[in-house]
Amino acid sequence: MTAASAAYPRKVQIAPDSAGSPGTYADCDLNTKLDWDSSADMVDTTDLNSAGLHKRTPVLLDNKVTLELNKDTSSTPFGTLRSGMLARTQVWLKIYETASTGCYFPAYVESIKSSYDPKDVSKASVSLVGTGTAPVSF
């Protein structure tokens, strides 16, 4: 079994959409936290004359990602995220699970929440949702 690994070397890259394919990826610098939720909707298909346990069938798959960032509006990846939201177009996420492998997929920017506290740096929480395209491993 693979040993547990530190999270700090992980990274995510952001690219604009280019005719349905990823444009140029840029490291999402200032990214302080990434949460990636891959899910499968579960339909209860328990039937009569069963063993008395719930039975389920997975149906639709989905991906949701939340990025917590220290904000720099001149940062290329943040600009890509904001432009994608304002244009209602998909952006591409490339998540590195190791130094050289991971997966990439398109996503819509659902919200950008920014906060400004004079005791702190400006921060943003960006939530993205899947578009219906399966992630591709690399």
Binding site: L30, Y108, P118, V129
Partner: protein, 225 residues
């Protein structure tokens, strides 16, 4: 390389009293069909007052105007129209004044994502982005009774809430005047706390609003001020 922005430099401003202007000069944006009001302090236009865009002093027909951006003072002409003379505008602008006593704030921009998953599909949920929205809140050292437009008509944040009057908010995240976020907002809630051990504390929440017909002004946007 990007670097974190200190939040204490962020500046929040609000619109003041609508002020008439005539023959305000505009400059072409690059080699586009868009002209922008040259004076940056007069670019926020009052959507409740009709604008007259002029070419060499003569009014430009509405059919030649593709769009206007009243938050950043621009007009875009249709592809077949090119002004022959100086472009100017008669309109009302809204002066922008910094809001004092803002302790902290949040801004949330969202896009609705209704489900568009179909049969005979990939098995992944599909979505189509639709309505955009913006909302936020402010924490202030204020009871919202201060005049936020001292050089114009007396205006308080409390008065704007009770009169249900929209306000133009401008956020300059870096405080550099290079890029700002502007939004027409309605104040939905104000709370004030008085504690003898503390300063007067106020918290306010707002939601963006489209300004509606017959004059449609975009609810919010980013741009160079």
């Amino acid at each position: 390389m990007a670097s974190a922005q200190v939040a204490y430099k962020a500046k929040l401003s609000a619109s003041g009293t609508s002020t008439a202007m005539t023959a305000q000069a505009c400059a072409q944006v690059g080699v586009t069909k868009t002209w922008q009001i040259s004076n940056s302090s007069k670019r926020v236009l009052d959507p409740s007052v009709a604008r007259t865009w002029k070419d060499g002093g003569s009014a430009i027909a509405a059919a030649n105007i593709q769009s206007e951006d009243l938050l950043f003072g621009t007009v875009t002409f249709i592809s077949s129209f090119t002004p022959g003379g100086a472009v100017t505008v008669d309109a009302n602008y809204l002066p922008i004044t910094a809001l004092a006593s803002v302790k902290s704030m949040t801004l949330e921009q969202t896009v609705d994502m209704p489900d568009a998953t179909l049969l005979n599909s990939s098995g992944y949920k599909a979505r189509i982005p639709t309505l955009m929205d913006a909302k936020g809140d402010l924490q202030m050292l204020s009871d919202f009774q201060d005049d936020i437009d001292p050089s114009g008509t007396t205006t308080t944040l409390y008065g704007l809430l009770t009169s249900r009057t929209p306000l133009l908010l401008e956020l300059d995240e870096k405080g550099t005047g290079v890029e700002v976020f502007r939004a027409w907002v309605l104040i939905g809630d104000e709370k004030v706390a008085f504690d003898p051990k503390d300063l007067t504390q106020g918290s306010l929440s707002w939601q963006a609003t489209d300004r509606g017909s017959p004059v449609i002004a975009a609810a919010s946007g980013w741009g160079a001020p």
